[in-house]
Amino acid sequence: MTKETYAPGTHPSLPPPKNTVGVIYWLKENLFSSATNSIVTLVSIYLLYLALPSAINWLFIDATYVGTTRKDCAPDGACLAFIGERFNLFVYGFYPAELRWRVNLATLLLVVAGAAVLWDKIPARKQMLKFAMVYPFIGAWLLTGGFGLEPVGTHLFGGLMLTLTIGVTGIVFSLPLGILLALGRQSDLPIIKYFCIGFIEFIRGVPLITLLFVASTMLSYFLPPGTTFDLLMRVLIMVTLFASAYMAEVIRGGLQALPKGQLEAAESLGLNYGQAMRFIILPQALKISIPGIVNTFIGLYKDSTLVIVIGLLDPLGIGRASVADSDWLGLSTEVYLFVAVFFFISCFGMARYSLYLENKLNTGHKR
């Protein structure tokens, strides 16, 4: 192949050589770049060939979707009829059937409030954000009742709505609390500093299950006799505190990653501490911390299954109870698969959103 020659200073930008782009090149580079790589690729394809058809048969082709008893289910397929049968239990727990519209409405409003917070291109965002600020109160009112609505005890909460209640409450309150703890830990005032350090280290040093037991049993010893403190409320507080301690450390990592010059520049312009934190330090520190923050969120969300130890039934708890039903024996695969899919969708969603946010906030200073 002959190369064109150009006079100095006139060399144009040329497209890359033909054999470095396209599907074939990608396959060659990524799947068959060496002998080992080719073998691994072929073995993987063979394993997929073995596993996929039978899995698809079990889950889709031989599966039973409709039915009211175990006998309706085909012997070789998944018995998804059972999931359908128990679907309301999985979603609403023991929430009274005639009041489930309140859960639906609360979820719908949650989606609206969530969209306002998570998506900055939403129309009329200012008003929407104001709504998002009051949503926690509206949501709590719809779910527990009172003030004109029929009260529903939190012991009836369960399933997906319980997971969402714990997850959303924990996420919404642990982030601001974690920010305060992280800033407090760096405070010049010894009282604030050591209180924050003590709190963070204590919470991190104790397993969540222990805290949940404390929440369900010990607190009643410490509180004056006769005071009833709602069980779910105690769980929410404990889960939030637990997550906030982890959050604080994640955010501290972000704060320490910022060059000292950022705070100095803010101070030299006359910004006070609050302004410097709000406009300069926290936006950058939180951006750096996004992967860790979302990681903590996902951990919190999945840890909500631990409430089973104090008798609250989240989807996993309902699943375990369902597996033990003597009319529907032998369906643990289907039930746990359903629970797993539910958690996977929520957590994968959070992970993707965090990637989107990172990209959006990237202003090219990482050159």
Partner: protein, 254 residues
């Protein structure tokens, strides 16, 4: 400011008296005395570790001094946060590493402090910012992020950002030390034009050409002390101390 230039000789802008500073046991600044009149341009030079940066950082209290007085524009720097904020509003600072806010656009970098500290309406702050960005010759970059600019452009934005607060005093802490050679000139040109407008300037730099051109006084520091303070002409042609002579021979020797 410019009206007061006629009586510049008596109008003290910064006064540092018997100031001492320690980092732990290490005595970084030793009995510093310095009086700066309004409109004066001072260049501070000296070997690294001599305390020159620390000294100018004491003037807007990025560093705390332990002994002596620092009075800026009639306000004494004490632990009183009000005084510190008041001084910082009037004193602009430009850093070696620019320290622009990477998550804000160039324009937002310039308007943030005027809007929140000076309480200037947004539209007015933006107009002022554009004016200063034009002065430093980069108005077309206003909506870019700092990470998209070259080092020289970033430093000029940093200068504009400080000027937007309309300070009486500008501190420069080695503003060209982190720049590629071909970008030093554009920053120095900006600083020269600023000097010509009569603002009070303290500049830590090794750009001796700049010192000769604009400085009213050159200060030489070594090991935390002010060794020599003189007009550029006297300083370069007739240095008094051996330490100064050695320093000058080292930086001008090639």
């Amino acid at each position: 400011m410019s009206e007061t230039q006629s009586n510049a000789t008596t109008d003290l802008c910064i006064e540092i008296r018997n100031m001492n500073k320690w980092y732990g046991d290490f005595h970084v600044l030793k009995n510093i005395n310095l009086a700066v009149t309004r409109g004066e341009k001072i260049v501070i030079c000296g070997p690294s570790g001599s305390g020159k940066s620390t000294m100018i950082r004491c003037i807007n209290r990025l560093e705390e001094h332990q002994e002596g007085d620092i009075i800026v524009d009639g306000t004494e720097l004490t632990n009183d946060l009000k005084n510190i904020d008041a001084v910082r509003r009037e004193v602009g600072m430009v850093f070696q590493h620019f320290n622009l806010f990477p998550h804000l656009t160039v324009l937002e970098n310039c308007t943030l402090a005027p809007i929140w500290v000076r309480k200037v309406p947004k539209a007015e702050a933006e107009a002022t910012a554009m004016e200063f960005l034009e002065r430093v010759k980069i108005p077309e970059q206003a909506n870019k992020y700092p990470g998209q600019l070259s080092g020289g452009q970033q430093q000029r934005v940093a200068i504009a950002r400080s000027l937007c607060m309309r300070p009486n005093i500008m501190l420069f802490d080695e503003p060209t030390s982190a720049l590629d050679p071909e970008m030093i000139k554009e920053v120095l040109d900006t600083m020269v034009s600023l000097a010509e407008e009569g603002i009070t300037m303290l500049c830590v730099t090794h750009e001796m050409g700049f010192a000769k051109k604009v400085a009213d006084r050159v200060i030489f520091m070594d090991e935390g002390e002010i060794i020599e303070s003189n007009t550029p002409h006297e300083f370069f042609d007739n240095p008094q101390h051996d330490r100064t002579k050695l320093f000058l021979s080292q930086i001008l020797g090639h």
